[in-house]
Symmetry: D2
């Protein structure tokens, strides 16, 4: 199982920390999981200029291919101007429209206020639907006050992240089971 | 498998016809399926007045219970004032918040213009997500011009409806497979 | 100036109380204002059945005409299943598509949680835009905890309601000024 | 009157052409208007990294200040992955939250399909509202097929652009009239 977590912010540390925490709780459930973190802050990706994704520079292609080939992708995002940041939107733009077809996707939001809770419904899920992703409906919304000191998040955040990991794992298994049944049904 | 189709309009015939067509194509794939159509036009439901759903009149309770107990629910809706009609929104209001928990849901929209295509993303899916439904992402959007005469829809509509039926059937099977695995994992 | 406040809920008392409070603060600014409250809880309107709005029963027509003829309409709404209630959506359905053309509109939301703050952006404003309303962008979002006892709301709610009233009054004046200038420009 | 048009795409030419056409029809109505076009394709702006907008490089600051100081801003946008492009979202991120306070804003969308018509309601208007803009509700949605050859758009597009220009001009005049009245009311 190819698992990729995208930390969609190029500002601050909270989204990266939330994604890192998700990796920690995921590994508790599934110690053998191979999880790759794509941190947009570290990568300095270019703006999408309309090229096919395989025609970008080599390291950009390598990054995008990780997402295209993943079985599971979790998008971590802060809230900028009541929506996802330009860096994350640009990441979607760099990908082909069907990059997430059959990919099981999850969402982790870090925010300063609970007033933006529906941002994920309004801005992020419609993009994932358009890109043909299987979207795990329940997302984890983490407030600034849920972070304690430098590395920790409150216990209930861990519980919610663990639940997201579980949902993603089971949904992926379900998808595989179905693909196998479909292949049998169509006689492949 | 308990299958319920809700025809969410109390005006006109297109939504009901689309839902009836979905039943026809579903039965071609799965002749033994028991599909119940709840037609809000026929039912004369009251406005939600805040009561628990089991405290309404007997026939209202009977209708709502069909949805609560269903494994699969498809919501058919026209577009009124760029959103779902009040009759369908009221139907959601009559149900308890977790009425659709673990329920696999699909969407069929009938519309006069393709300009409202994103209405399902914007208005309907966030309601289904809030009610904890498993939402099959791809919906069938049928234009007035896709209806021919009284009983027919164009061939490509049938293909899209058949694809929705297949998605719903496979997603429901997947959900069952997972529930069984979860029960085993937790030792029930 | 024709001012109409719609209390969009048929359940509970908070939306009506918020709307009543808005009337109180409005009258402090503009003691001569004629404000009519349309309380959907009191009215028992039928579901929209597709008729032209003038073809409904006499009292229904009288109610709808108040909105069609208003210069300013404020919609008060609770949050039901993460959206506006069916009663309010049905009220929009009863009106013709251009019922709010040139009408200055404002929004007051009563809610149990700040998590639904963006509901007005996602569900209500797109309907008002479709119906050609002039939408005053800033809305008043009142939490259950902002109500104190039976008749009061906290001071900051009054301040926010007063600000909404002021926005609506000035926007209406601006619209009139413009209409006069347009009529002059076109030589009417 | 400071007028700024933002061409929000870094790919292709349609958005820029639509914005240029808007300038042409605007100047027909108001030959003396000073309209500045900010073309994100030409500018190579950096990703927002959390700095205050005045702390970016000199040319970036100069660009952002044009928007902050404008009376009217029109945002031209293509549809990428069912939303605004990352380049335009990043432009909003670079601006302070209240950059558009009291600014009259309009929207021009270029798209390949009418199915994304509601994208402006769902993705763009909530951002403008959050940034405190005065949003002119009716936007111009231009399909690829509305462009003819290299420089032209169909007549009805020009009519719709002219209507947008008129709306923006009158709304700005109205806003000024109101500000003057408010200043008088408060005795400034």
């Amino acid at each position: 199982m190819n698992i990729v977590f995208v930390s969609g912010s190029v500002v601050g540390t909270k989204t990266r920390r939330a994604i890192t925490e998700l990796k920690k709780v995921w590994l508790k459930q599934d110690a053998a999981a191979q999880i790759e973190i794509i941190d947009l802050k570290a990568l300095k990706l270019p703006f999408c200029d309309g090229r096919h994704f395989l025609d970008y520079e080599e390291d950009v292609v390598a990054t995008l291919k990780k997402v295209v080939e993943a079985d599971v992708v979790v998008f971590g995002t802060p809230v900028f101007q009541a929506s996802i940041p330009g860096s994350l939107k640009n990441f979607f733009d760099l990908l082909p429209q069907d990059a997430l077809r059959e990919t099981v996707t999850g969402i982790v939001v870090t925010a300063g206020s609970s007033k933006h809770y529906l941002m994920a419904e309004q801005h992020l899920k419609p993009i994932l639907s358009y890109m043909k992703a299987v979207v795990v409906s329940t997302y984890v919304y983490i407030l600034a006050e849920d972070f304690v000191g430098n590395d920790l998040v409150k216990d209930d955040v861990d519980l919610r992240l663990a639940r997201l990991a579980e949902d993603l794992i089971f949904t992926t298994e379900a998808k595989r089971y179905i693909q196998k049944k479909q292949e049998e049904a169509y006689g492949f």
